[in-house]
Subunit: 333 residues, 4 copies
């Protein structure tokens, strides 16, 4: 079962919108960051990771975002281009903004944390006027991610992108990706998450993220079925609710529900699990697989990335994904 229809006469498969930043991953793991001394630099940010994952899987991928006018910004754009991602929608900040940073600390596979630098981040300086209607209508799908809603003008740029997507039948995927540190107020967060989700075809988030959105409306209980049905009364066709170790459940508008399993792997760190899941799940749906098969592809991609050092650079190719699905042990949960 796969309810999505795509406008197939488009030169791009998917355009991601939002955060482009730098991960600085500690090379010395299993210790607190105070005791690490070197870091390796990678491109990061949820939509960047998903776009890289999509491109590795062979999708024609574009990006709408903004980078700092410095060495970090140039590194990001160059890396996207090396990964065959079209950067026509990536603009360069001229106000002295910096590239967002995420220093990762890996104390143990279960105990990872991130030290963020988000002040004056270039990615949040994307203006509505820098979002091109012509660019968006060239794509079958648009991916948005919640962090881009955290501040103006990026917030409004996302809403403009959504208007164009709706106008031109571009299927919209929304990876909630709620990061509290970039937001100032929980009610503010929930308002914009709800307004954006109304315009999306596929919504992917954790139970906690959906709870945050529902708390605004004084909805007390956490009921997956009810949560999904709220969005089916708007535009959604598929709603995926992730329950961490307990797996995920996808609902479709026609009443179907599908549970995913997990591929066994050697976990190095948990970062990147969500982004790799999203990129392969979307890839599965866009290449005509059933919802449950697409979920399995998402799980396979996630199990690859969490066994590697980076999030972005670790994204599998189509061949790696297939091989992993053939060889790794898949467990239902």
């Amino acid at each position: 079962m796969n309810p999505l229809k795509f406008s197939n006469d488009r030169p791009l498969d998917i355009i991601a919108v939002g955060r482009l930043c730098i991960d600085l991953n500690a090379n010395e793991t299993n210790r607190p960051m105070e005791e690490t001394s070197t870091f390796t630099k990678y491109v990061g940010g949820s939509p960047a990771n998903i776009a890289i994952g999509s491109a590795r899987l062979g999708q024609k991928t574009g990006f709408i975002g903004k980078v700092a006018d410095d060495q970090m910004g140039r590194f990001i754009t160059q890396y996207l281009e090396k990964n065959n991602i079209n950067t026509d929608g990536v603009t360069i900040d001229k106000t002295g903004a910096v590239t967002g940073l995420a220093f990762t600390e890996i104390k143990s596979p279960d105990e990872c944390s991130i030290l963020m630098y988000r002040d004056n981040a270039a990615d949040l300086k994307l203006y509505p006027s820098e979002v091109s209607e012509d660019y968006i209508k060239q794509s079958k799908a648009l991916l948005i991610s919640g962090t881009a809603l955290a501040a103006s003008p990026s917030r409004e740029a996302v809403f403009v992108a959504l208007e164009y997507a709706v106008k031109h039948d571009v299927t919209v995927f929304f990876d909630l990706d709620y990061r509290p540190y970039t937001w100032t107020d929980e009610a503010e967060t929930a308002v914009y998450y709800n307004l954006a989700a109304e315009k999306c075809d596929v919504i992917i988030g954790t139970r906690e993220e959906f709870d945050m959105m529902e708390k605004l409306l004084n909805i007390k209980e956490s009921d997956d079925h009810y949560t999904a049905s709220r969005w089916f009364s708007h535009r959604a066709e598929i709603v995926v609710i992730k329950h961490g170790g307990a797996g995920s459940i996808a609902y479709t508008k026609d009443g179907g529900s599908y549970r995913s399993g997990i591929f066994r792997t050697n976990v190095l760190k948990t970062f990147g699990a969500g982004d790799s899941y999203a990129s392969a799940f979307i890839y599965g749906l866009m290449t005509g697989h059933d919802v449950s098969e697409a979920m399995k592809m998402g799980s396979a991609s996630a199990s690859i990335v969490i066994s590697r050092h980076s999030c972005s650079d670790a994204m599998p190719t189509e061949q790696e994904l297939t091989e992993h699905m053939d060889t790794a042990i898949y467990e239902t949960v």
Copy 2:
């Protein structure tokens, strides 16, 4: 013809949300403000004026807003209460915000301008958590006004109020009331006007205001019929487009359209025309009049207010309105 249905088992007729401020109207008119020396103080702000107009016409009226913790703020709350407006939804700022001010300059009936004080205005400090679902569900209707969307947290408070209104079948009136000086960016303005309008039952604005909203979507022509039809595909039942001296036109979802005329009057100043029109038009609709009759009531109220010194204090009672409609000359345009 009147397509609106109201939940009649509610203790309040209408709750207005948003700006509460002070007008300081020059007592010496027909000269530039440099040459005026005294000012008279009135309550002002579009939703405040509409609420006062509604209460004068006999509607059970409430307000959701925020006032400064000073003499101006207390004056506003006291004035609302004297006018029988329920102020349970009016909170008091504790951050040192001030009351917004509008100094009016009346050089001639055609040449009026306003000098605004909107920095650190208390009305824009209304938080989502200060909007009560219980309060809103006690009202048949909610009135929002665009200025409250100009900044956070008031912007999010309005969206929360809209969510509650939709949830509880409260009819929403939206007076666009676009004031460029309170906004920083035209695209930002248009994004939030469009998002709010999607959730409203009746939308009232000038042609220029609708143009501003459509420019974001690269809609070039100014076509009233098209403008109205955009909103009928969302939630709207009635869309009123005002063309200044050329009168207004109202569209209803069923395809009807209605043109208003104008009552002759001695114009002192043009301020307050829109607010008085809105309060009487809404009153007409809520008391079961046809759309065209309600428009005529709006025009009558406007012709009374523009012949008087203030906006708020000049609002007519039901008896004054009826007498004026019986005696003044009504012209179609």
Copy 3:
């Protein structure tokens, strides 16, 4: 005794630097502001009042400051010019700043309060580059007032003016004029008051203002003699410490001390007492009177202004001052 020497070959007697704003004085007195309905507009701001007082007394007066590009700003500049104040040093803001406002509430002669509008005030937008060395060196004296130190760039503009004054032997008068509402932090306030006072020849303030400055340095006791001596080790020649109803005391570097008395009057409000005192005291010193005679002139001017409705417009001419000193009852305290 008068220790001050002036460079007499200068076209201007005194240039005031800093705040130019508007007072809106309640016309209905002896009641809270909630119950007043009309206000009269006057030029206000401590250095503006002192400059107007100086000009009325016949001094060739100039001003360095910034006004808003609106009707209030133009009114201020026009009023200064009508009072024979040179406005070559007054620039016009181009950033959309507004004119600072002070609404006065006169509940009784003893119970007056002010409601201030200081957000985005044009006077605090004065840039160092807008302070002209050529202009300052044309004056015998410079008057600064503490409020101009409250925020950048006005703060730096004052320090630049002080550098030029010291460089060109321009005598500097410092009226402390500490208004807590314009400052965010008491230590910050004290730092800049102390740095500025080091460069001044005459310092005039209340005991409370000097206490605020000394608290930073962990000086516990309030000792007038010690306070004055701190500044004599820098550049000061005269230090005046005001004790409200208990009169003032002036110290001179040579060890002299002088107590002022008070002229009996019919007090309407207490606003403007300090500014009128300063303008006539400075005038007395600059016209060669002894310190104690200059203090008496200050007291006479204050007693005139507090019996009238405004601060600025109430400033006496030389003739009014002389007549008042001849006729009013002077009491030592």
Copy 4:
């Protein structure tokens, strides 16, 4: 010749005030940062480097500053303590500020650049109330550095520290350390540099830094002798003006002037030259060496640090310094 006298009955030799941050030095040198992939983390910031240099040379060293409440902040405090620096004056930010970062790019020994992260930096959040008079009076000397003047409240904290130092006869060293990226306005910068320099005993800066300070006062020519004499009329005893490759010149209040030479070395990068110079020069002066010998010690320290990868961790011990001075080639310039 050495004009400085120290209060020798103090438990600390020197307290540095100001910036504590992190250097992230590219491990792959001789290429643009876009092409580097790993970075090594060091403590950085001019006063931090000088304090570390002082402690390595055996001085009893303290610090007044503020660190972020995160892994970077804890790393800094731990590193200072490991280097025997007293951290009683180091407070921890509780507002969510981050640690300032400096990514270094070493394209060639002559072409180095820094990518700074200074938004919301914890070091600039030091409050005047966090500067302890009791702590400062326990030290013979205080070192301030210009960057701490860049923003409030750190700016005011420095002025408070200067007040305490003057009050308790603590000798003040001022390393100008002007970094344009942390300042918004050149006149603002010059105002505070000049106000601070008035209270310092030893001022160390480049010709360009002194020019920036003098431009404010419309001083056109760059005259070392005149520059030095300006400060001798205030409190300075020694003024050092650095001319890059052309060496430095030190002036003493008694009219003396001394030129330094340069030790030959294998330059890896130029960062850290100024800080290492300052730490050894101050050490020389505080241990009773002549000005010219202290300058030679400064040059020796600089030649060691610029041949190594870091700034802070590269600071020589007393033994290393002595050996280097005995073995390296010293050239007059």
